[in-house]
Amino acid sequence: MSSSTSNTSTHHTSTIGAIGAPSRRNTELALLVFAVLIPVFAYANVGLAINDQVPAGLLSYGLGLGLLAGVAHLVVRKFAPYADPLMLPLATLLNGLGLVAIWRLDQSKLLQSIGQAGGKATNQLIYTALGIALFAVVLVFLKDHRVLQRYTYISMVGALVLLLLPLVPGLGANITYGAKIWIQVGSFTIQPGEFAKIVLAIFFAGYLMVKRDALALASRRFMGLYLPRGRDLGPIIVVWMISILILVFETDLGTSLLFFGMFIIMLYVATERTSWIVFGLLMSAAGAVGVASFEPHVKQRVAAWLDPMREYTLSQTVPGHSAQSMQALWAFGSGGTLGTGWGQGHSELIRFAANSDFILATFGEELGLAGLMAILLIYGLIVERGVRTALAARDPFGKLLAIGLSGAFALQVFVVAGGVMGLIPLTGMTMPFLAYGGSSVIANWALIGILIRISDTARRPAPAPAPSPDAEMTQVVRPS
């Protein structure tokens, strides 16, 4: 926050830029070494616990992760030298630990027998490579994030297409219990919602930057709240409707909540009107309650959340019910304070999606309360760096985009982790970076790439302005 105030007050002076913010690239490199070594150590730990030997793939795994991290670091060093130094190491650490957990679940005979494990870690490493590649592409080709502003309305169309794809007959893949958020392309399944999250943030940022004054100023005061004009309500109604439609047709509470929440956050930041938050909460509550009361899939999820044991008992006899929620709770409880240790838990009992939506349960059981709190704090730290980037950004579009992406990231973590831990109803989304799944890993690396680009722009020393004709007359007071 101090940086932003000093920026606004002093950024036209010629001398302040010459001091130069430290690039912090070496800090990033040092942190990256830890971010690679910790998962390598965990990987060895899994092998020793399950097979009593250091896993044969340890070297190639370590080299692979190290190489990817190294490439990412070099790209940042070259193309975004002033970027935030924490985001890349934190994402690498989560991604590496996720790989270890997926590999650990690959060893489970139970999961192998139901086709939920075996070779998934290798796939995930490939997805990670693709993700890092997209991360590099973002940094190399997106020299300035403000370029994205040009694509505001294309983004809108793109986001809508991505969101609607799973509903296209023949393309939508109904993989999991009810939620229609996948599409099938050849032998691959893609979760377009993960990409829509980013594209939608670009659209909202571009749109709100243009409309924020109209939305903020033209309002009436009523009971202490600034109520927007009827015609300005349009966009929020439209987004709300889309969210509801997603909920009804794709039966995915998580995605719906995520998009609507992201819009509200960005609307609030753009207009500085608390009334939007109140409106947003009321509308999402009305939407969620309304849909949950008649949509059977959502209704069942809510029932399972209120009484997971009943859902578990039903799942033993009645088809269509799932034991997962209760199994996840047992996994967390069995882990206790310090956990069973890598490879010694039984989170495979969750069966379906044990390595994707429910991967947090494996961390909870095997690393315990201590380990899981650390993981949650790493997520918190990534979000904090994202918000800090938004604070530091000098242009409103960058601010809005950064807060939109960080807010969406935070909401996703909350919705997934809260669902798995039984804090809120379960939704079909994946834990960023930890969970198995190509779409999620690739999209989240792109998200980190954009945030790093914005933070680089924000922290980059302002270019020296042309020498001012009245420079001699101005006395510069240097901050000491």
Binding site: S4, V269, E272, M309, F332, G368, L369, G380, V387
Partner: protein, 490 residues
């Protein structure tokens, strides 16, 4: 725009805080509840993660363990001669729980018993896997084999119970048809199939029924030993050889029905010795109705009737009614009407007589051992009751010995051994429509001590009705069990 940004930052912080609080709730506050939830499969996984302790007979284990190849349970139970020992061990199955000894002593066998807590904690610190303790039984391998083989050779439903009279140690507990508990110990499809085949619904033979402890049969004439004890104890007759007041034919009081004897046997005013030797229904029926319901019930209770026994495996309660008129009491006193007993109960009757009137509490667990074979608990023989005085017991012994020497039980004679016994043929089915149960209860005496008392019941649905007798079907099995015990003591 920075003010709302800071608020959003706080909001995101609250989201993470909510997750952290929830995590503490789950993994700290509720951790134990969730970890020990019986529906949590981890409880079962841990249970089968280490080899189970063994059940020991004569210093050798009759159980074992095997590693399973499929599923998440590592070890399953195996049984040696499982069918023979099933009435003793019960079963422990990965899919169907546990019964009998396997269930009652589960804590010791799995190593979860509190008495093993200190050892378990030490093992946990030193990294040793948890081990289960052993259950040492009182059974005799030789007697059990004789009993089971005898029933198997006969090929009929039946059961044997044998007791050491001076201590109450159970020496044999056989039931036929039986089942191999190994076949249902695992969690595979073949175990499920075996379970289905053993189920009473699909298998009229009900092989999983423990007939020695859990089935009550009308004891028929073997109950006359109890009636004789009641006559002596209540002073109705003082000796074995005084004439009784027994008219023939005898019409039951309050009815016009004559109680029948089997064939024309010398029952008119017969002495108790002769009446037992020939198995006179009229004599013992009249003794019962003369004594009355209350006195008969009192004596039967002293022998253990109407009570379940916990050996520690529970046996069913034998029946002797308390609301009968004189004719019903007469029928009950010859082991018909409502009277019903487990084979264990009838072995206790023979045992009390053989032990000079003192009934010892029957038990089958001699001691519990820690994994390092230290004794954790040893069962001490315990006096249960004194159904008859030593003098009366000796009178009854001489009567039962007469039965084997020259009465209905000659097929149980053993060279050089004094055997006392009583046969029984109990009616079965409505109006005696089904083949009767053949009974034999006996004891063997070597010198002054009686090492074994035994009860055998055989229900042979295929035998020709006329050939069914305690003497023909049951006594030979009792004889072999007694011989096995005597031989193993030599």
């Amino acid at each position: 725009m920075n003010k709302p940004l800071r608020r959003i930052a706080i909001f995101c912080g609250l989201l993470v805080l909510a997750l952290l609080i929830r995590d503490n709730w789950l993994q700290y506050v509720k951790a134990d509840t969730l970890r020990e939830d019986p529906d949590n499969r981890r409880v079962l996984i841990a249970r089968y993660a280490t080899p189970r302790g063994d059940i020991i007979v004569d210093g050798k284990s009759i159980t074992g363990h095997a590693e399973t190849t499929s599923g998440d349970f590592k070890y399953k139970r195996t049984y040696k001669d499982g069918a023979m020992w099933a009435p003793v061990t019960g079963f422990v199955s990965q899919s169907y729980g546990a019964t009998q000894l396997e269930s009652i002593e589960d804590g010791i066998l799995t190593g979860n018993d509190d008495r093993l807590f200190f050892r378990n904690t030490l093992d946990m610190l030193t990294g040793k896997p948890k081990e289960g303790g052993n259950v040492v039984t009182t059974l005799s391998a030789a007697a059990q084999k004789a009993a089971y083989d005898g029933l198997k050779k006969r090929g009929a439903k039946g059961a044997v119970a044998a007791i050491e009279p001076s201590t109450g140690k159970i020496l044999a507990l056989a039931s036929y048809p039986s089942y191999d508990p190994s076949s249902i110990a695992g969690g595979s499809d073949s175990d499920a199939e075996a379970w289905k085949k053993l189920d009473k619904k699909n298998n009229p033979d009900d092989p999983m029924l423990n007939r020695a402890l859990r089935e009550v049969y009308p004891p028929g004439s073997t109950f006359k030993v109890v009636t004789a004890a009641a006559a002596l104890e209540n002073g109705l007759y003082k000796t074995a050889d005084e004439k009784t007041d027994s008219p023939l034919p005898w019409t039951m009081p309050g009815t016009t029905t004559q109680l029948k004897n089997e064939g024309s046997i010398p029952c008119k005013n017969a002495t108790l010795r002769v009446a037992l030797q020939y198995s006179c229904n009229t004599v013992f029926g009249k003794v019962g109705s003369d004594l009355g319901n209350d006195k008969m019930l009192e004596e039967a209770k002293k022998f253990g009737f109407t009570e379940e026994q916990f050996t520690p495996v529970r046996s069913s309660a034998p029946v002797f009614s308390d609301d009968m008129n004189p004719s019903q009491t007469a029928l009950s006193s010859i082991g018909q009407y409502n009277t019903a007993a487990t084979p264990l109960q009838m072995a206790m009757v023979a045992s009390a007589v053989a032990n000079n009137g003192t009934l010892m509490k029957p038990y089958m667990v001699d001691s519990l051992q820690a994994p390092n074979l230290d004794t954790l608990e040893k069962t001490q023989p315990e006096k249960m009751s004194e159904p008859l005085s030593a003098e009366n017991a000796q009178i009854l012994q001489s009567m039962m010995e007469t039965v084997v020497q020259k009465g209905t039980g000659t097929t149980a004679q053993i060279d050089g051994v004094t055997v006392g016994g009583k046969t029984g043929t109990a009616q079965h089915g409505e109006n005696n429509s089904k083949n009767p149960y053949a009974w034999f209860i006996s004891y063997a005496k070597v010198g002054d001590s009686a090492p074994v008392a035994v009860a055998v019941v055989v229900q042979d649905d295929n035998a020709v009705r006329e050939n069914i007798s305690g003497s023909g079907l049951a006594a030979p099995i009792a004889k072999r069990v007694m011989e096995a015990v005597i031989d193993s003591k030599k």
